[in-house]
């Protein structure tokens, strides 16, 4: 028995016990024990990933659990990395969830929540370890369904049910694409192992089809535009620790899957694969952040940012695929590393932000930013956590978002070494879109943090808010530490990621491209930097400024009212709102948002010069979603109508159908090939 396999057993055991405890025990005991199992299992997942990545262990296990093929598991660098992603976010969210789910007591089923939470957390490591098509697809389904039940926790709300339905439909459409992709990849044999797929020689047309199907299937899971519609519906209505895990890890399984299929199983492809991934990534990133800007529901805003960040990750992967097709392994590694690094970073800061938003929801019972405000005074620790998450997702140095976005930029700039016209056209546009995305993200998080946590509370609930319980603070604190550490230490993380990718899909095994040191240099890329030194410098300079101000400047300080041109009273109604904050951008991008406006004025009956009330409504409609989904829905409805004719309600008719199908199947099966 090696350490790795022990860890694997601990993962399975802990989650199984956690699920059983959650199902079997009532009240606080079940909740805490379930969370403990989940947390322990996640820590073991993290340990397994770190151990395998650190020692380079390749572990392969086959257990005869599934029919036909058995459960085939294998750890390599890529899966070990995703184990770490799942472990970090899972552990933090489990600790947080132990306290967070307390307020569901007596209202919603805690048993189902605890059990499904453990099932989901168990399915994630299995997912990335899966080594044959059947294991992969079965786990995929378990993961999707457990996430579905978790989304449905608050099942008595209309929006929850609607969101869960959308999620189920889109994810199953994606699943269908995946099944098709794997069937093509394995030449019709659903039991084929990944090793067999790697060595299989496919026609170029088939390979293209597999890639496109995989992009659709995994893109639906990852929330790539235009398959993202379920994401901003499902993430807000799920319990917050579930949102954190779904946004941080579950949608990353799409990234993992795409990487596994396109790079590992297919071994890379023509340049347009990468170009397609880069393109949908850039569009998702930009549209994600643009819609996030218009959102005033804190959790939905974060959900749109998940789309944005998945887009950035896809840009990194796409750039990697492009470079690989041009035979530039060092640059390709840079692109993939940038994508993976951002995956890990996003799991940390987005997990943190969702947990922070959960604390706000927990304290104020509203997700609407227009009713929040001033929480920094009532919930100082949550505010610090959210601020760090906001700065990290805005790619501000020296936090982790900056390190990975810098890498994506470097990868794209590195593309300038390819002397081809299409690259010369695509790369500057991609760089510009990424830059616009990150600029808008900063604006969006100034809004999210500023409106939610600063200024005066805009409602009684916000004014009465209480700081989150300790367990929730611990969950957030862990992720804060992760964000800071990952931001300061790219010189450590990047070579590890490089070695994790080593050997996958023909990438160079030894990652000599990345030199260690506090400032890290990347061969093929065109710049270097050191977040650690930047952070040190900033800290030093702040200290120095503070010190010299103490010494030389006047130190008097007098509290006073906020300056409002001498207005007599200053109330929360006079503050800038989230809508107002985003208004300039809404006007600038009006052609995209197509806002509808509705102004109705009630005049005083006596005179038109006196107004009794003014009502102004404005809403934005994601027109491309309507343009895309309305026809599909109409088509589906039409098809369903036609199919309904088959439904006569007569038992005999149904039996006839079955007989016909049986006969046809027998004929097909017996048909000589």
């Amino acid at each position: 028995m090696t350490i790795a396999s022990w860890l694997l057993y601990i993962i399975v055991g802990a989650h199984a016990l956690g699920a059983l405890a959650a199902l079997g025990l009532r009240g606080a005991a079940g909740r805490v024990l379930g969370a403990t199992g989940a947390g322990a299992g996640s820590l073991a997942t993290l340990g397994l990933g770190a151990w395998c990545l650190g020692t380079g262990t390749v572990l392969a296990i086959t257990a005869p659990i599934l029919p036909l093929t058995g459960l085939a598991l294998r750890v390599d660098g890529v899966s070990a990395f995703f184990l770490i992603v799942a472990g970090v976010a899972g552990a933090a969210a489990s600790v947080y969830g132990a306290a967070y789910s307390a307020h569901y007591e007596g209202r919603y089923s805690l048993r189902l929540l605890g059990a499904m939470w453990n099932v989901l957390l168990l399915s994630l490591p299995i997912q990335v370890l899966a080594d044959n098509a059947l294991t992969f697809l079965m786990t995929w389904e378990v993961m999707s369904l457990s996430a579905y039940f978790l989304v449905l926790t608050e099942h008595d709300r209309r929006e929850t049910v609607r969101a869960a339905n959308w999620y189920l439909v889109v994810t199953h459409a994606g699943f269908a694409a995946l099944v098709a992709a794997f069937l093509l990849l394995a030449a019709g044999d659903p039991t084929a192992s990944f090793a067999a797929m790697r060595s299989a020689v496919l026609a170029p047309g088939t390979r293209d089809a597999v890639f496109v199907l995989a992009l659709i299937g995994f893109g639906a899971k990852a929330g790539i535009v235009p398959l993202h519609v379920w994401l901003p519906m499902a993430h807000p209505v799920a319990p917050s620790h579930v949102s954190a895990l779904m946004s941080g890890v579950v949608i990353k399984m799409g990234v993992y899957g795409l990487l596994r299929v396109s790079l590992d199983l297919l071994g890379g492809g023509p340049a347009w694969w990468g170009g397609l991934a880069l393109g949908v990534g850039a569009v998702s990133a930009l549209l994600g952040v643009l819609y996030a800007l218009m959102e005033h529901d804190l959790k939905r805003l974060l959900a749109y940012h998940s789309i944005e960040n998945v887009g950035i990750i896809f840009m990194g992967l796409g750039a990697g695929l492009v470079f690989q097709s041009y035979g530039l392994p060092a640059l390709a590694t840079l692109g993939f590393v940038a994508g993976l690094y951002h995956t890990l970073n996003h799991a940390c800061f987005k997990g943190l932000l969702f947990l922070g938003a959960g604390s706000v929801l927990h304290a104020t019972h509203t997700r609407n930013m227009e009713e929040l405000g001033g929480l920094i005074h009532r919930m100082p620790r949550t505010a610090v956590g959210f601020l760090i998450g906001a700065a990290a997702i805005s790619a501000l140095p020296p936090l982790n978002g900056f390190a990975s976005e810098w890498l994506v930029f470097q990868a794209l700039l590195g593309g300038s070494t390819i002397p081809r016209a299409e690259i010369a056209v695509v790369m500057p546009i991609a760089v510009a879109m990424l830059a616009l995305t990150s600029g808008l993200a900063v604006a969006c998080f100034v809004k999210a943090f500023g409106i939610t946590f600063l200024a005066l509370p805009r409602s009684a609930e916000a004014a009465q808010a209480q700081e989150a319980p300790l367990a929730m603070q611990i969950g957030m604190g862990a992720l804060v530490l992760a964000c800071v550490a990952l931001g300061l230490a790219p010189f450590f993380v990047v070579p590890v990621l490089g070695s994790a990718l080593g050997g996958v899909g023909g990438l160079p095994t030894a990652s000599v491209e990345f030199s260690l040191g506090t400032s890290f240099r990347v061969a093929g890329a065109v710049g270097q930097m050191s977040p650690l030194l930047v952070a040190l410098g900033l800290a030093l300079l702040i200290g120095l400024t503070l010190g010299s101000l103490r010494a030389f400047a006047d130190r008097r300080l007098r509290p006073g009212d906020t300056w409002g041109c001498g207005r007599i009273g200053h109330t929360a109604r006079m503050e800038y709102t989230a809508t107002a904050f985003a208004e300039p951008l809404r006007r600038i991008f009006a052609e995209l948002y197509r806002p509808t406006q509705d102004l109705s004025i009630d005049f005083h009956p006596a005179s038109r010069y006196f107004v009794e009330s003014i009502e102004y409504r404005s809403a934005i409609h994601p027109w491309f979603e309507q343009a895309l989904y309305t026809p599909v829905l109409r088509l589906l409805r039409g098809a369903a109508h036609r199919v309904r004719r088959l439904q006569a309600g007569s038992l005999h008719l149904y039996l006839t159908y079955m007989t016909i199908v049986l006969v046809v199947l027998l004929i097909v099966a017996r048909w000589p090939r």
């Binding site: 010369a424 056209v425 500057p428 600038i588």
Partner: protein
Amino acid sequence: MSDAFSQLSVLGSSLTLIFGLILLWRRGVPAYISAFAAQSAVLAGVAAVVAHFGREAELYWVAALLFLVKAVAIPKLLRDMERRFGTERELQPYVNTATSLVVAGLLVLFGYAIMRPLVAVSRLPTRAAMPLAMALVLVSLFVMISRKKALTQVVGFLMLENGIALLAILGTYGIPLIIELGVFLDALLGFIVMQIFVYQIHDTFETIDVEQLNRLRH
């Protein structure tokens, strides 16, 4: 030596393109006319540069002619027209300014992409500037598509002609003088015809907004 040649030709072409972009950015017709005059002057300069480095004495004549006709005479005529109509501003183009500019940027990239094969096989020192000339042609066409006022369209047409001339100068070191003159005359004739039309439109509709031409159908 030839390095300076290609730098200068690219610089000149970039300038003509930027003057073309002013049509998308500014709203006043006087600014358009100034931009056109400046662009023509730069075009004449490019022709002179090509004449100097390419040792094509004929092109000096083309340069001088270009300068006289396009940088001096036509702008003067245009200003007269503008004065007669008063200031009509391009207030509501079909495509708003910011989008227009981004579209123009994409057109430049597109021009670059389609000229790439030609540039790759060409050995001329001026080859690097040709995509920019192509981009000017595309941008001028876009101006004519997206703007409403007849005068804007006239200037757009003239810039289109400038772009073609630039392409000819860069690509072949000037087509023979005779053909050049023919094209020139053509353009001049076209300009005069358009001028007459604009006057007619103005007299009929009291505006030179070409959107009003839709009314002719009824």
